[in-house]
Protein backbone atom coordinates (compact mmCIF):
# COMPACT_ATOMS: atom_id res chain seq x y z
CA UNK A 1 0.00 0.00 0.00
CA UNK A 2 1.17 3.47 -0.77
CA UNK A 3 -0.43 6.68 0.37
CA UNK A 4 -3.10 8.10 -1.95
CA UNK A 5 -1.32 11.42 -1.71
CA UNK A 6 1.78 10.05 -3.46
CA UNK A 7 -0.39 8.46 -6.13
CA UNK A 8 -2.01 11.83 -6.75
CA UNK A 9 1.44 13.39 -7.07
CA UNK A 10 2.33 10.75 -9.66
CA UNK A 11 -0.87 11.65 -11.53
CA UNK A 12 0.19 15.30 -11.59
CA UNK A 13 3.56 14.29 -13.02
CA UNK A 14 1.78 12.18 -15.66
CA UNK A 15 -0.49 15.10 -16.61
CA UNK A 16 2.50 17.43 -16.92
CA UNK A 17 4.25 14.90 -19.18
CA UNK A 18 1.12 14.66 -21.37
CA UNK A 19 1.03 18.43 -21.75
CA UNK A 20 4.72 18.64 -22.62
CA UNK A 21 4.40 15.64 -24.91
CA UNK A 22 1.55 17.24 -26.87
CA UNK A 23 3.45 20.53 -27.03
CA UNK A 24 6.54 18.80 -28.44
CA UNK A 25 4.45 16.75 -30.85
CA UNK A 26 3.53 19.95 -32.62
CA UNK A 27 7.11 20.63 -33.80
CA UNK A 28 8.91 18.39 -36.26
CA UNK A 29 12.24 18.51 -34.42
CA UNK A 30 10.85 17.42 -31.09
CA UNK A 31 7.86 15.35 -32.14
CA UNK A 32 9.34 11.92 -31.55
CA UNK A 33 10.71 12.84 -28.14
CA UNK A 34 7.33 14.38 -27.32
CA UNK A 35 5.56 11.12 -28.06
CA UNK A 36 8.01 9.22 -25.88
CA UNK A 37 7.52 11.68 -23.03
CA UNK A 38 3.78 11.27 -23.31
CA UNK A 39 4.23 7.46 -23.24
CA UNK A 40 6.32 7.82 -20.09
CA UNK A 41 3.48 9.81 -18.55
CA UNK A 42 1.09 6.96 -19.37
CA UNK A 43 3.44 4.43 -17.77
CA UNK A 44 3.69 6.53 -14.59
CA UNK A 45 -0.10 6.88 -14.41
CA UNK A 46 -0.56 3.13 -14.85
CA UNK A 47 2.08 2.10 -12.29
CA UNK A 48 0.74 4.62 -9.77
CA UNK A 49 -2.76 3.20 -10.20
CA UNK A 50 -1.54 -0.34 -9.65
CA UNK A 51 -0.01 0.82 -6.34
CA UNK A 52 -3.47 1.61 -4.93
CA UNK A 53 -3.68 -2.05 -3.99
CA UNK A 54 -6.74 -4.16 -3.35
CA UNK A 55 -7.17 -5.05 -6.99
CA UNK A 56 -7.45 -8.38 -8.70
CA UNK A 57 -4.02 -8.45 -10.30
CA UNK A 58 -4.58 -11.69 -12.18
CA UNK A 59 -7.34 -10.09 -14.23
CA UNK A 60 -5.32 -6.92 -14.74
CA UNK A 61 -2.31 -8.86 -15.91
CA UNK A 62 -4.47 -10.90 -18.29
CA UNK A 63 -5.93 -7.71 -19.76
CA UNK A 64 -2.53 -6.05 -20.09
CA UNK A 65 -0.96 -9.08 -21.78
CA UNK A 66 -3.82 -9.62 -24.24
CA UNK A 67 -4.20 -5.94 -25.08
CA UNK A 68 -0.45 -5.33 -25.20
CA UNK A 69 0.03 -8.27 -27.55
CA UNK A 70 -2.69 -7.12 -29.94
CA UNK A 71 -1.46 -3.51 -29.86
CA UNK A 72 2.14 -4.54 -30.44
CA UNK A 73 1.23 -6.83 -33.31
CA UNK A 74 -1.01 -4.26 -34.99
CA UNK A 75 1.50 -1.43 -34.64
CA UNK A 76 4.45 -3.45 -35.90
CA UNK A 77 2.78 -5.09 -38.88
CA UNK A 78 0.71 -2.26 -40.34
CA UNK A 79 2.02 -0.81 -43.60
CA UNK A 80 2.43 2.97 -43.77
CA UNK A 81 -0.33 3.16 -46.36
CA UNK A 82 -2.65 1.34 -43.96
CA UNK A 83 -2.00 3.84 -41.19
CA UNK A 84 -5.32 5.72 -41.37
CA UNK A 85 -7.43 2.64 -40.75
CA UNK A 86 -5.07 1.46 -38.00
CA UNK A 87 -5.35 4.76 -36.15
CA UNK A 88 -9.14 4.52 -36.53
CA UNK A 89 -9.14 1.03 -35.06
CA UNK A 90 -6.92 1.94 -32.10
CA UNK A 91 -9.16 4.88 -31.45
CA UNK A 92 -12.18 2.58 -31.37
CA UNK A 93 -10.60 0.36 -28.72
CA UNK A 94 -10.12 3.39 -26.47
CA UNK A 95 -13.80 4.24 -26.88
CA UNK A 96 -15.02 0.75 -26.09
CA UNK A 97 -12.74 0.64 -23.04
CA UNK A 98 -14.52 3.69 -21.61
CA UNK A 99 -17.88 2.06 -22.31
CA UNK A 100 -16.76 -1.11 -20.52
CA UNK A 101 -15.47 0.80 -17.49
CA UNK A 102 -18.80 2.61 -17.22
CA UNK A 103 -20.63 -0.69 -17.51
CA UNK A 104 -18.41 -2.43 -14.96
CA UNK A 105 -18.90 0.34 -12.40
CA UNK A 106 -22.64 0.38 -12.95
CA UNK A 107 -22.94 -3.41 -12.86
CA UNK A 108 -21.00 -3.65 -9.61
CA UNK A 109 -23.14 -1.01 -7.94
CA UNK A 110 -26.34 -2.70 -9.19
CA UNK A 111 -25.35 -6.05 -7.75
CA UNK A 112 -24.38 -4.43 -4.48
CA UNK A 113 -27.71 -2.62 -4.26
CA UNK A 114 -29.53 -5.85 -5.09
CA UNK A 115 -27.64 -7.53 -2.26
CA UNK A 116 -28.83 -4.82 0.11
CA UNK A 117 -25.57 -2.92 0.06
CA UNK A 118 -25.22 0.80 0.40
CA UNK A 119 -23.49 1.85 -2.82
CA UNK A 120 -25.87 4.31 -4.37
CA UNK A 121 -24.52 6.55 -7.09
CA UNK A 122 -25.48 10.21 -7.19
CA UNK A 123 -27.26 11.63 -10.22
CA UNK A 124 -23.99 13.23 -11.23
CA UNK A 125 -22.12 9.92 -11.28
CA UNK A 126 -24.98 8.22 -13.12
CA UNK A 127 -24.90 11.02 -15.66
CA UNK A 128 -21.18 10.43 -16.11
CA UNK A 129 -21.79 6.70 -16.61
CA UNK A 130 -24.41 7.60 -19.21
CA UNK A 131 -22.02 9.89 -21.10
CA UNK A 132 -19.01 7.54 -20.91
CA UNK A 133 -21.09 4.62 -22.20
CA UNK A 134 -22.86 6.59 -24.92
CA UNK A 135 -19.79 8.42 -26.26
CA UNK A 136 -17.54 5.40 -25.79
CA UNK A 137 -19.90 3.12 -27.69
CA UNK A 138 -20.47 5.65 -30.44
CA UNK A 139 -16.72 6.12 -30.83
CA UNK A 140 -16.25 2.38 -31.06
CA UNK A 141 -18.73 1.59 -33.82
CA UNK A 142 -17.98 4.86 -35.60
CA UNK A 143 -14.29 3.99 -35.68
CA UNK A 144 -14.98 0.48 -36.89
CA UNK A 145 -17.09 1.81 -39.78
CA UNK A 146 -14.35 4.36 -40.55
CA UNK A 147 -11.84 1.51 -40.55
CA UNK A 148 -14.05 -0.46 -42.93
CA UNK A 149 -14.36 2.47 -45.32
CA UNK A 150 -10.67 3.32 -45.24
CA UNK A 151 -9.52 -0.24 -45.77
CA UNK A 152 -12.01 -0.74 -48.60
CA UNK A 153 -14.00 -3.40 -46.75
CA UNK A 154 -17.01 -1.11 -46.88
CA UNK A 155 -17.89 1.05 -49.88
CA UNK A 156 -16.29 4.49 -49.60
CA UNK A 157 -19.38 6.19 -50.94
CA UNK A 158 -21.76 7.69 -48.42
CA UNK A 159 -24.56 5.27 -47.63
CA UNK A 160 -27.79 7.04 -46.87
CA UNK A 161 -31.33 5.79 -46.60
CA UNK A 162 -34.42 7.97 -46.88
CA UNK A 163 -35.28 9.66 -43.62
CA UNK A 164 -31.93 8.85 -42.07
CA UNK A 165 -31.52 12.35 -40.63
CA UNK A 166 -34.92 12.20 -38.96
CA UNK A 167 -34.15 8.72 -37.67
CA UNK A 168 -30.80 9.88 -36.24
CA UNK A 169 -32.40 12.83 -34.48
CA UNK A 170 -35.15 10.56 -33.14
CA UNK A 171 -32.54 8.17 -31.72
CA UNK A 172 -30.68 11.08 -30.18
CA UNK A 173 -33.84 12.34 -28.48
CA UNK A 174 -34.64 8.86 -27.17
CA UNK A 175 -31.15 8.34 -25.83
CA UNK A 176 -31.12 11.73 -24.13
CA UNK A 177 -34.47 10.98 -22.49
CA UNK A 178 -33.10 7.59 -21.43
CA UNK A 179 -30.03 9.34 -20.04
CA UNK A 180 -32.16 11.63 -17.90
CA UNK A 181 -34.27 8.72 -16.65
CA UNK A 182 -31.09 6.80 -15.94
CA UNK A 183 -29.60 9.65 -13.91
CA UNK A 184 -32.59 10.03 -11.58
CA UNK A 185 -32.12 8.78 -8.05
CA UNK A 186 -35.07 7.34 -6.15
CA UNK A 187 -36.15 4.65 -3.71
CA UNK A 188 -35.13 1.10 -4.48
CA UNK A 189 -38.78 0.04 -4.86
CA UNK A 190 -39.55 2.65 -7.49
CA UNK A 191 -40.38 1.09 -10.89
CA UNK A 192 -37.99 3.48 -12.59
CA UNK A 193 -35.18 2.27 -10.33
CA UNK A 194 -36.10 -1.36 -11.02
CA UNK A 195 -35.83 -0.72 -14.75
CA UNK A 196 -32.50 1.05 -14.45
CA UNK A 197 -30.41 -1.80 -15.83
CA UNK A 198 -32.70 -2.13 -18.87
CA UNK A 199 -32.48 1.61 -19.48
CA UNK A 200 -28.70 1.32 -19.36
CA UNK A 201 -28.69 -1.45 -21.97
CA UNK A 202 -30.96 0.62 -24.21
CA UNK A 203 -28.46 3.50 -23.94
CA UNK A 204 -25.56 1.22 -24.87
CA UNK A 205 -27.36 -0.21 -27.88
CA UNK A 206 -28.48 3.19 -29.16
CA UNK A 207 -24.93 4.53 -28.71
CA UNK A 208 -23.56 1.70 -30.83
CA UNK A 209 -26.19 2.24 -33.53
CA UNK A 210 -25.61 6.00 -33.57
CA UNK A 211 -21.89 5.47 -34.19
CA UNK A 212 -22.63 3.36 -37.26
CA UNK A 213 -25.26 5.73 -38.64
CA UNK A 214 -23.14 8.83 -38.06
CA UNK A 215 -20.18 7.57 -40.06
CA UNK A 216 -21.80 5.38 -42.70
CA UNK A 217 -23.29 8.46 -44.39
CA UNK A 218 -19.94 10.20 -44.77
CA UNK A 219 -17.85 9.81 -47.91
CA UNK A 220 -14.32 8.40 -47.95
CA UNK A 221 -12.82 11.75 -48.88
CA UNK A 222 -14.12 13.22 -45.63
CA UNK A 223 -12.60 10.51 -43.46
CA UNK A 224 -9.73 12.70 -42.18
CA UNK A 225 -12.28 14.92 -40.49
CA UNK A 226 -14.17 11.94 -39.12
CA UNK A 227 -11.10 10.31 -37.61
CA UNK A 228 -10.03 13.57 -36.00
CA UNK A 229 -13.52 13.99 -34.56
CA UNK A 230 -13.74 10.40 -33.29
CA UNK A 231 -10.36 10.94 -31.66
CA UNK A 232 -11.85 13.90 -29.85
CA UNK A 233 -14.82 11.76 -28.76
CA UNK A 234 -12.65 9.03 -27.29
CA UNK A 235 -10.96 11.73 -25.20
CA UNK A 236 -14.36 12.97 -24.01
CA UNK A 237 -15.39 9.40 -23.14
CA UNK A 238 -12.23 9.01 -21.05
CA UNK A 239 -13.02 12.34 -19.42
CA UNK A 240 -16.54 11.18 -18.51
CA UNK A 241 -15.02 7.99 -17.10
CA UNK A 242 -12.87 10.22 -14.90
CA UNK A 243 -16.02 11.71 -13.42
CA UNK A 244 -17.41 8.25 -12.64
CA UNK A 245 -14.43 7.17 -10.58
CA UNK A 246 -13.45 10.70 -9.43
CA UNK A 247 -10.01 10.52 -10.98
CA UNK A 248 -8.29 13.76 -11.88
CA UNK A 249 -5.73 12.39 -14.33
CA UNK A 250 -8.51 10.90 -16.47
CA UNK A 251 -10.39 14.19 -16.51
CA UNK A 252 -7.34 16.26 -17.41
CA UNK A 253 -5.99 13.94 -20.12
CA UNK A 254 -9.42 13.19 -21.55
CA UNK A 255 -10.19 16.89 -21.81
CA UNK A 256 -6.80 17.60 -23.41
CA UNK A 257 -7.48 15.02 -26.11
CA UNK A 258 -11.08 16.10 -26.50
CA UNK A 259 -10.16 19.76 -26.99
CA UNK A 260 -7.13 19.16 -29.19
CA UNK A 261 -9.08 16.69 -31.34
CA UNK A 262 -11.77 19.30 -31.84
CA UNK A 263 -9.18 21.90 -32.89
CA UNK A 264 -7.63 19.44 -35.33
CA UNK A 265 -11.11 18.72 -36.72
CA UNK A 266 -11.70 22.43 -37.23
CA UNK A 267 -8.35 22.81 -39.02
CA UNK A 268 -9.33 19.95 -41.35
CA UNK A 269 -12.72 21.49 -42.07
CA UNK A 270 -11.11 24.83 -42.87
CA UNK A 271 -8.77 23.12 -45.31
CA UNK A 272 -11.83 21.81 -47.15
CA UNK A 273 -13.75 25.05 -46.77
CA UNK A 274 -16.68 23.26 -45.22
CA UNK A 275 -18.40 23.56 -41.91
CA UNK A 276 -18.35 20.65 -39.52
CA UNK A 277 -22.12 20.37 -39.79
CA UNK A 278 -21.79 20.12 -43.56
CA UNK A 279 -19.29 17.26 -43.31
CA UNK A 280 -21.37 15.39 -40.77
CA UNK A 281 -24.79 15.70 -42.31
CA UNK A 282 -24.50 16.29 -46.03
CA UNK A 283 -23.35 12.94 -47.37
CA UNK A 284 -20.93 14.76 -49.65
CA UNK A 285 -20.84 13.28 -53.11
CA UNK A 286 -24.08 11.37 -52.64
CA UNK A 287 -26.30 14.39 -52.87
CA UNK A 288 -27.46 15.58 -56.23
CA UNK A 289 -26.27 18.86 -57.66
CA UNK A 290 -22.93 20.46 -57.04
CA UNK A 291 -21.25 18.52 -59.79
CA UNK A 292 -20.49 21.83 -61.46
CA UNK A 293 -20.16 22.67 -65.11
CA UNK A 294 -19.62 20.05 -67.72
CA UNK A 295 -16.01 19.67 -68.64
CA UNK A 296 -15.34 20.56 -72.21
CA UNK A 297 -12.50 19.88 -74.50
CA UNK A 298 -10.20 16.97 -74.87
CA UNK A 299 -7.55 15.72 -72.55
CA UNK A 300 -4.08 15.52 -74.04
CA UNK A 301 -2.24 12.33 -73.27
CA UNK A 302 1.53 12.12 -73.05
CA UNK A 303 3.88 9.17 -72.85
CA UNK A 304 6.43 8.74 -70.08
CA UNK A 305 9.24 9.14 -72.60
CA UNK A 306 8.02 12.55 -73.73
CA UNK A 307 7.36 13.57 -70.15
CA UNK A 308 10.96 12.71 -69.35
CA UNK A 309 12.25 15.10 -72.00
CA UNK A 310 10.27 17.95 -70.45
CA UNK A 311 11.33 17.06 -66.92
CA UNK A 312 14.98 16.84 -67.96
CA UNK A 313 14.85 20.42 -69.21
CA UNK A 314 12.96 21.74 -66.17
CA UNK A 315 14.72 23.79 -63.52
CA UNK A 316 11.91 23.73 -60.98
CA UNK A 317 9.43 20.96 -60.28
CA UNK A 318 6.61 20.79 -57.77
CA UNK A 319 5.26 17.35 -56.98
CA UNK A 320 1.67 17.16 -55.73
CA UNK A 321 0.94 13.74 -54.26
CA UNK A 322 -2.53 12.42 -53.46
CA UNK A 323 -4.28 9.29 -52.35
CA UNK A 324 -3.47 7.64 -55.68
CA UNK A 325 0.19 7.66 -54.70
CA UNK A 326 -0.68 5.79 -51.51
CA UNK A 327 -2.78 3.24 -53.37
CA UNK A 328 -0.03 2.60 -55.92
CA UNK A 329 2.59 2.47 -53.10
CA UNK A 330 4.57 4.83 -55.29
CA UNK A 331 6.21 6.95 -52.55
CA UNK A 332 9.64 5.31 -52.84
CA UNK A 333 9.68 5.63 -56.62
CA UNK A 334 8.56 9.26 -56.28
CA UNK A 335 11.41 10.04 -53.91
CA UNK A 336 13.83 8.40 -56.35
CA UNK A 337 12.48 10.57 -59.14
CA UNK A 338 12.87 13.63 -56.91
CA UNK A 339 16.51 12.70 -56.23
CA UNK A 340 17.15 12.22 -59.95
CA UNK A 341 15.69 15.63 -60.72
CA UNK A 342 17.82 17.25 -58.03
CA UNK A 343 20.95 15.61 -59.37
CA UNK A 344 19.96 17.08 -62.69
CA UNK A 345 20.15 20.56 -61.12
CA UNK A 346 16.44 20.98 -60.68
CA UNK A 347 14.75 22.42 -57.62
CA UNK A 348 12.21 19.94 -56.25
CA UNK A 349 9.42 20.63 -53.79
CA UNK A 350 6.56 18.47 -52.63
CA UNK A 351 3.37 20.46 -52.23
CA UNK A 352 1.10 18.74 -49.78
CA UNK A 353 -2.50 19.66 -49.32
CA UNK A 354 -3.69 19.28 -45.70
CA UNK A 355 -6.46 16.90 -46.69
CA UNK A 356 -4.66 14.91 -49.37
CA UNK A 357 -5.08 11.22 -48.64
CA UNK A 358 -7.40 9.69 -46.13
CA UNK A 359 -5.97 11.15 -42.96
CA UNK A 360 -4.62 14.56 -42.00
CA UNK A 361 -0.95 14.62 -42.93
CA UNK A 362 -1.18 11.22 -44.65
CA UNK A 363 1.11 12.22 -47.53
CA UNK A 364 3.75 13.61 -45.19
CA UNK A 365 3.97 10.28 -43.44
CA UNK A 366 4.31 8.34 -46.67
CA UNK A 367 7.00 10.63 -48.09
CA UNK A 368 8.83 10.62 -44.78
CA UNK A 369 8.78 6.83 -44.96
CA UNK A 370 10.50 7.15 -48.34
CA UNK A 371 13.18 9.38 -46.76
CA UNK A 372 12.08 12.67 -48.24
CA UNK A 373 13.51 15.35 -45.91
CA UNK A 374 10.70 17.36 -44.38
CA UNK A 375 12.18 20.69 -45.49
CA UNK A 376 11.14 19.72 -49.00
CA UNK A 377 7.52 19.23 -47.97
CA UNK A 378 5.63 22.51 -48.34
CA UNK A 379 2.06 23.63 -47.82
CA UNK A 380 -0.25 25.14 -50.46
CA UNK A 381 0.26 28.65 -49.07
CA UNK A 382 4.01 28.35 -49.66
CA UNK A 383 3.76 27.09 -53.20
CA UNK A 384 0.78 28.96 -54.66
CA UNK A 385 2.46 32.41 -54.80
CA UNK A 386 5.37 31.01 -56.85
CA UNK A 387 3.51 28.39 -58.88
CA UNK A 388 3.49 30.49 -62.06
CA UNK A 389 7.30 30.36 -62.15
CA UNK A 390 7.35 26.58 -61.77
CA UNK A 391 8.34 24.69 -64.91
CA UNK A 392 6.57 21.44 -64.21
CA UNK A 393 3.90 20.58 -61.69
CA UNK A 394 3.69 16.83 -61.33
CA UNK A 395 0.35 15.69 -59.92
CA UNK A 396 0.56 12.11 -58.71
CA UNK A 397 -2.74 10.53 -57.82
CA UNK A 398 -4.23 13.77 -56.52
CA UNK A 399 -7.43 15.14 -57.94
CA UNK A 400 -9.81 17.22 -55.85
CA UNK A 401 -7.01 19.16 -54.13
CA UNK A 402 -5.85 20.50 -57.52
CA UNK A 403 -9.29 21.03 -59.03
CA UNK A 404 -9.49 24.60 -60.36
CA UNK A 405 -13.30 24.48 -60.02
CA UNK A 406 -12.71 25.29 -56.37
CA UNK A 407 -11.43 28.67 -57.52
CA UNK A 408 -13.50 29.33 -60.61
CA UNK A 409 -16.79 27.49 -60.64
CA UNK A 410 -19.32 28.81 -58.16
CA UNK A 411 -21.68 25.92 -58.90
CA UNK A 412 -19.18 23.30 -57.89
CA UNK A 413 -19.63 21.64 -54.51
CA UNK A 414 -15.98 22.26 -53.73
CA UNK A 415 -16.10 25.95 -54.65
CA UNK A 416 -14.05 27.97 -52.16
CA UNK A 417 -11.91 25.09 -50.94
CA UNK A 418 -8.25 26.12 -50.80
CA UNK A 419 -6.39 24.18 -53.47
CA UNK A 420 -2.91 23.88 -54.90
CA UNK A 421 -3.02 25.90 -58.12
CA UNK A 422 -1.39 23.21 -60.21
CA UNK A 423 -3.13 24.53 -63.33
CA UNK A 424 -1.13 27.76 -63.15
CA UNK A 425 2.27 26.11 -63.52
CA UNK A 426 3.93 26.36 -66.93
CA UNK A 427 3.32 22.69 -67.57
CA UNK A 428 1.25 20.28 -65.54
CA UNK A 429 1.57 16.52 -65.73
CA UNK A 430 -1.25 14.54 -64.19
CA UNK A 431 -0.60 10.90 -63.39
CA UNK A 432 -3.85 9.09 -63.24
CA UNK A 433 -5.18 5.61 -63.73
CA UNK A 434 -7.89 6.70 -66.14
CA UNK A 435 -9.80 9.80 -67.16
CA UNK A 436 -12.61 9.22 -64.63
CA UNK A 437 -13.81 11.61 -61.94
CA UNK A 438 -12.11 11.88 -58.55
CA UNK A 439 -12.97 10.28 -55.24
CA UNK A 440 -15.53 12.93 -54.48
CA UNK A 441 -17.12 12.32 -57.88
CA UNK A 442 -16.46 15.81 -59.21
CA UNK A 443 -15.14 16.43 -62.70
CA UNK A 444 -11.80 18.17 -62.90
CA UNK A 445 -11.27 20.84 -65.60
CA UNK A 446 -7.53 20.72 -64.88
CA UNK A 447 -7.32 17.65 -67.12
CA UNK A 448 -8.52 19.64 -70.11
CA UNK A 449 -6.29 22.68 -69.77
CA UNK A 450 -3.95 23.80 -72.55
CA UNK A 451 -0.87 23.23 -70.44
CA UNK A 452 -1.96 19.91 -68.96
CA UNK A 453 -0.73 16.55 -70.14
CA UNK A 454 -2.18 13.29 -68.86
CA UNK A 455 0.19 10.48 -68.04
CA UNK A 456 -2.18 7.55 -67.79
CA UNK A 457 -1.52 4.27 -66.03
CA UNK A 458 -0.41 3.01 -62.63
CA UNK A 459 1.39 5.83 -60.81
CA UNK A 460 4.19 3.59 -59.63
CA UNK A 461 4.86 2.23 -63.13
CA UNK A 462 4.82 5.71 -64.65
CA UNK A 463 7.22 7.11 -62.06
CA UNK A 464 9.50 4.08 -62.36
CA UNK A 465 9.62 4.55 -66.14
CA UNK A 466 10.65 8.17 -65.65
CA UNK A 467 13.35 7.12 -63.18
CA UNK A 468 14.63 4.54 -65.66
CA UNK A 469 14.80 7.19 -68.36
CA UNK A 470 16.86 9.41 -66.07
CA UNK A 471 19.22 6.55 -65.33
CA UNK A 472 19.79 5.92 -69.01
CA UNK A 473 20.41 9.55 -69.81
Amino acid sequence: MISPFLIDVAYIVAAVLFVFGLKMLSKADTARRGNQISALGMLIALVATLLYGGMDYTYILAGLVIGGGIGLFGAKTVAMTGMPEMVALFNGTGGVASLLVGWAEFHQSSTEIAAGGMTVFSSFTLGAIFLASLIGGLTFTGSVVAWGKLSGKLPGKPMLFPGQQVFNILLLVIVLAAGIAFSLVGDAGDPLMMAKYDIFLVIVVIGLILGVLAVIGIGGADMPVVIALLNSYSGLAACATGFIIVNKVLIVSGALVGASGLILTTIMCKAMNRSLANVLFSGFGATSGGAGKKNEGEARVITAEDAFLVLEAASSVVIVPGYGMAVAQAQHAVRELGDMLEENGCEVKYAIHPVAGRMPGHMNVLLAEANVPYEQLVEPDDVNPIIEAVDVCLVIGANDVVNPSAREDEDSSIYGMPIINADLARTTFVMKRSLGAGYAGIGNPLFFRENTRMLLGDAKDSVSTLVAEFKQA
Binding site: V19, L22, L25, S26, A28, A31, R32, N35, M42, A45, M55, D56, A62, G67, I70, G71, L72, G74, A75, K76, V78, M83, V87, F90, G94, A97, L100, A104, Q108, T111, F124, A228, S234, G235, A237, A238, T241, G242, N247, K248, I251, S253, G254, A255, L256, V257, A259, I263, L264, I352, M359, P360, G361, V365, A368, N371, Y374, E375, Q376, E379
Partner: protein, 99 residues
Protein backbone atom coordinates in the same frame (compact mmCIF):
# COMPACT_ATOMS: atom_id res chain seq x y z
CA UNK B 1 -19.82 12.73 -4.61
CA UNK B 2 -20.50 15.94 -2.70
CA UNK B 3 -21.15 19.28 -4.37
CA UNK B 4 -17.71 20.63 -3.54
CA UNK B 5 -15.90 17.76 -5.27
CA UNK B 6 -18.19 18.12 -8.27
CA UNK B 7 -17.39 21.80 -8.65
CA UNK B 8 -13.69 21.10 -8.16
CA UNK B 9 -13.68 18.46 -10.91
CA UNK B 10 -15.64 20.68 -13.29
CA UNK B 11 -13.12 23.43 -12.64
CA UNK B 12 -10.27 21.09 -13.60
CA UNK B 13 -12.22 20.10 -16.70
CA UNK B 14 -12.69 23.70 -17.77
CA UNK B 15 -9.00 24.56 -17.40
CA UNK B 16 -7.91 21.38 -19.21
CA UNK B 17 -10.15 22.14 -22.17
CA UNK B 18 -8.62 25.60 -22.56
CA UNK B 19 -5.14 24.15 -22.21
CA UNK B 20 -5.89 21.55 -24.87
CA UNK B 21 -7.12 24.21 -27.28
CA UNK B 22 -4.02 26.37 -26.71
CA UNK B 23 -1.61 23.47 -27.12
CA UNK B 24 -2.79 22.43 -30.54
CA UNK B 25 -3.77 25.64 -32.27
CA UNK B 26 -0.48 26.05 -34.16
CA UNK B 27 0.58 22.76 -35.69
CA UNK B 28 2.10 22.39 -39.16
CA UNK B 29 -0.10 20.14 -41.28
CA UNK B 30 2.73 17.69 -41.89
CA UNK B 31 2.45 16.66 -38.24
CA UNK B 32 -1.30 16.17 -38.21
CA UNK B 33 -1.18 12.40 -38.50
CA UNK B 34 1.38 11.77 -35.75
CA UNK B 35 -0.36 14.34 -33.57
CA UNK B 36 -3.68 12.65 -34.05
CA UNK B 37 -2.38 9.19 -33.33
CA UNK B 38 -0.26 10.48 -30.44
CA UNK B 39 -3.20 12.17 -28.77
CA UNK B 40 -5.26 9.09 -29.56
CA UNK B 41 -2.82 7.11 -27.44
CA UNK B 42 -3.35 9.55 -24.58
CA UNK B 43 -7.09 8.89 -24.70
CA UNK B 44 -6.11 5.36 -23.65
CA UNK B 45 -5.71 6.90 -20.17
CA UNK B 46 -9.05 5.25 -19.54
CA UNK B 47 -6.80 2.28 -18.71
CA UNK B 48 -6.54 3.82 -15.23
CA UNK B 49 -10.30 3.59 -14.85
CA UNK B 50 -10.24 0.05 -16.22
CA UNK B 51 -7.63 -1.07 -13.68
CA UNK B 52 -9.50 0.58 -10.82
CA UNK B 53 -12.73 -1.19 -11.79
CA UNK B 54 -11.07 -4.52 -10.99
CA UNK B 55 -11.25 -4.29 -7.20
CA UNK B 56 -10.86 -7.71 -5.70
CA UNK B 57 -14.01 -9.40 -4.48
CA UNK B 58 -16.12 -7.99 -7.29
CA UNK B 59 -18.84 -9.95 -8.95
CA UNK B 60 -17.75 -12.17 -11.88
CA UNK B 61 -19.54 -10.13 -14.54
CA UNK B 62 -17.85 -6.95 -13.27
CA UNK B 63 -14.48 -8.68 -13.42
CA UNK B 64 -15.11 -9.80 -17.01
CA UNK B 65 -16.16 -6.30 -18.07
CA UNK B 66 -13.14 -4.83 -16.26
CA UNK B 67 -10.69 -7.25 -17.82
CA UNK B 68 -12.08 -6.55 -21.27
CA UNK B 69 -11.76 -2.82 -20.52
CA UNK B 70 -8.11 -3.22 -19.49
CA UNK B 71 -7.38 -5.23 -22.64
CA UNK B 72 -9.05 -2.70 -24.96
CA UNK B 73 -7.43 0.29 -23.30
CA UNK B 74 -4.04 -1.42 -23.50
CA UNK B 75 -4.49 -1.96 -27.25
CA UNK B 76 -5.17 1.76 -27.54
CA UNK B 77 -2.16 2.76 -25.44
CA UNK B 78 0.45 0.31 -26.75
CA UNK B 79 -0.69 0.43 -30.36
CA UNK B 80 -1.16 4.20 -30.34
CA UNK B 81 2.26 5.06 -28.98
CA UNK B 82 4.14 2.50 -31.08
CA UNK B 83 2.46 3.48 -34.32
CA UNK B 84 3.16 7.16 -33.64
CA UNK B 85 6.78 6.39 -32.86
CA UNK B 86 7.10 4.41 -36.08
CA UNK B 87 5.78 7.33 -38.08
CA UNK B 88 7.92 9.92 -36.35
CA UNK B 89 11.04 7.83 -36.68
CA UNK B 90 10.73 8.39 -40.42
CA UNK B 91 10.65 12.17 -40.24
CA UNK B 92 14.18 13.29 -40.74
CA UNK B 93 16.06 16.32 -41.90
CA UNK B 94 18.08 16.53 -45.04
CA UNK B 95 21.44 14.85 -44.73
CA UNK B 96 20.45 12.57 -41.90
CA UNK B 97 21.03 8.96 -42.86
CA UNK B 98 18.55 6.17 -42.71
CA UNK B 99 17.74 5.34 -39.13
Amino acid sequence: MDAQTTVFLLFILMLSVFLGIELISRVPSQLHTPLMSGSNAISGITIVGAVLSLSSGNETMTAILGTAAVACATVNVVGGYLVTDRMLAMFRKKGQGKG
